[in-house]
């Protein structure tokens, strides 16, 4: 809990009523269960999880697009959950969100220049002709031209629409941008363009990011700190290097083993990648991952490990056996360097490609 953090999330919990709630007996589905993490100023926190892990709910609950049941979300010292409507509106200028499907967040009948100008006018950041100048500047910033401003969303490709969404988010000069699977719907080449753009903007403007994704490769590339979510709980968190380099939770390890990686040697897909996450309605007294975990013992089934059952500096794992986990090596599926083992011809031509790009 560093006081210098821009965002401090503590004990965030969100559940939804189950079916048959008229009779008041149905169990609730807990989708986020006591999640805590912080994002430093200018830092990028990557939240990794599979579908149903609660990662999108966390992003929305932080911005109060959904209301959490309990917990606190401190943004620059203010608890967002205690703000009234006017206070929240003021704070919202400082936080923006970018969704996976940019089309769904753009009104199809509004020209994108106007869509970008809207938040500028709403928050009275510019007036009169300055608004248009600012829109042009934003379009240019995300690699579009000012004439794009007169077009409608359907005239853009997926990658361009994501650029528009980014321009719109930047319009209010936010301190924090929540990116919810911003590149998942894009082809790899376009994905690379958008990731590069986000990185450039971060380096130039120094805003903080909460980067939500199911893709380990993308998160590793983009985030300085990461949290791994499983069934609504943060099972491991810490600096990206530590978490990816020496994962101390069996679920993080399973994700790494399961993530396909480029390489000359074909990895045997590991048989330990099995099972599915528990239902959010299930009341699990122990570790939610125990049923799929090759290391699980009695204590795992009986008692839930706290988020810092194991800790080494900022690196934490909610695993009773974090200390004893076997050492991982290439055979276990972790590839230290994906390009290791690639041929000379491959490296030579990649170097040529990079050189040609640089010109």
């Amino acid at each position: 809990m560093s006081p210098t953090n821009l965002l401090e999330v503590a004990g965030l919990t969100k559940s939804y009523p189950g079916k048959g709630r008229l009779f008041g007996t149905a169990p609730r589905a807990t989708v986020v269960d006591g999640v805590s993490f912080g994002i430093a100023r200018g830092g990028t926190f990557g939240l990794i999880g599979e579908s149903g892990s609660g990662k999108s709910t966390i992003g929305r609950a932080i911005l109060r697009l959904v209301e959490a049941d309990s917990g606190s979300v401190r943004f620059d010292g203010t608890d967002l959950r205690e703000l009234d409507v006017a206070g929240l509106k003021r704070m919202r200028r400082r936080m923006q969100i970018i969704f996976q499907d940019p089309f769904s967040s753009l009104d199809p009948r509004v020209r994108i220049g106007r869509a970008i100008a809207e938040p500028i006018r709403l928050h009275r950041l510019r007036t009169g002709a300055e608004v248009d100048l600012r829109v042009d500047e934003l379009l240019e910033m995300v690699g579009l031209a000012s004439h794009h401003g007169s077009r409608f969303p359907h005239e853009f490709s997926g990658g361009q629409r994501q650029r528009v969404a980014i321009a719109r988010a930047l319009a209010v000069e936010p301190d924090l941008i929540v990116c919810d699977e911003p590149v998942s719907a894009l082809d790899v080449s376009i994905q690379a363009q958008v990731l590069n753009l986000l990185e450039e903007l971060r380096d130039r403007m120094g805003m903080s990011f909460l980067f939500i994704s199911h893709d380990m490769g993308v998160v590793r590339h983009f985030a300085s700190d990461v949290g791994v979510l499983y069934a609504g709980t943060l099972v491991e968190s810490g600096p990206a290097e530590a978490v990816f380099g020496d994962p101390r939770h069996p679920y993080t390890r399973m994700l790494q083993v399961a993530t396909p990686s480029l390489g000359m040697t074909r990895r045997t897909r590991a048989a330990e990648v099995r099972g599915e996450p528990p239902s959010p309605f299930a009341r699990i007294p122990g570790c939610p991952f125990a049923s799929r975990c090759p290391q699980a013992t009695e204590i795992c089934i009986e008692r839930r490990p706290p988020p810092d059952a194991w800790a080494s500096g900022p690196h934490r794992s909610a695993c009773w056996h974090a200390e004893e986990l076997p050492t991982m090596d290439g055979d276990a599926g972790i590839v230290a360097d994906d390009e290791a083992g690639m041929t000379d011809a491959y490296r030579r031509r990649m170097a040529l490609l990079r050189a040609a790009r640089a010109v």
Binding site: V273, T343, A345
Partner: protein
Amino acid sequence: MHETGSSTAAEGRAPPVLLITGLRAGFGRTPVLDGIDLEVAEGELLCIVGESGSGKSVTALSVMDLLPRAAQVTADAMMFRGRDLSVMPERERADLRGNEMAMVFQEPMTSLNPVMPLGDQITEPLIRHRGMGAREAWEVAVEMLRRVHIPAPEARFAMYPHQLSGGMRQRVMIAMALVCRPALLIADEPTTALDVTIQNQMLRLIDELRTDLGTAVLFITHNLAIVSEIADRIAVIYAGRIVEQGSRDEIFGNPQHPYTLALFAAMPRLSDRGRRLASIEGQVPSPDSMPEGCRFAPRCPFAVARCREAAPPLVRIAPEHVVACWRAPLEEMAT
């Protein structure tokens, strides 16, 4: 010497289950595919790699004869187990589907009927194509569900698709596709929408089944990491043309086409933090405004005047490797 020719003439391999040369497809006056040559042998897994708009799905749907009627499809040859698909009557092709050739899609609900119990859906092709009785079909279907690791398969027969998890639905869809033991399975981005742990299970399953049943697999994806894990051979397709094709070892060990290289470079790696990704500027051209010459030239950092004037032919540079690039190999560039 380099030899100009199709990508198909390799020797010493099992006879092809599917052999296509010069496949063209288009809608109205808009061509989507411009002469595709492909071949898949028994038990072999061919990955077609390309981005949205490259024509990879149209290729698959042409083989399945599932394109809308408005589409024009022609080919110099389209042979499936020695039979010529291009002259086959529509009814016979319909009989092949779900029987000798099957397809799985990205979204399982595309092929599952939401209002029909799963048991009926899985046994239907057996009863229709194989003339089995209900009892026999039931047994075969249970066996196939077990193969795709569905726990308690008997209990699933009365269930409806919405009662299953996403991963389970994918597996049921695969079971349905494979229940008649097709000679050819076409998988169109079957794992793109899946979480990595489920994706991993699916890839393992497809790999197992083609090894055990000898199914030829045409696997369509834009993810080179997946390709790296499962492909025997790879065809890289760009804007309706194959730009490079070869064995996995050749494509990974000796990639030649700048587009292939660019796809490799654009992949975020677990190991490249802090380095800018080598993105490919611009986007795939739309079918109604294809550039002259090499279609990748407008995005290619190595393009010269010649590339914009004439389309490079596919040239065989190794027994298991063809590439269509005027500038390959790049090391021999004049400047």
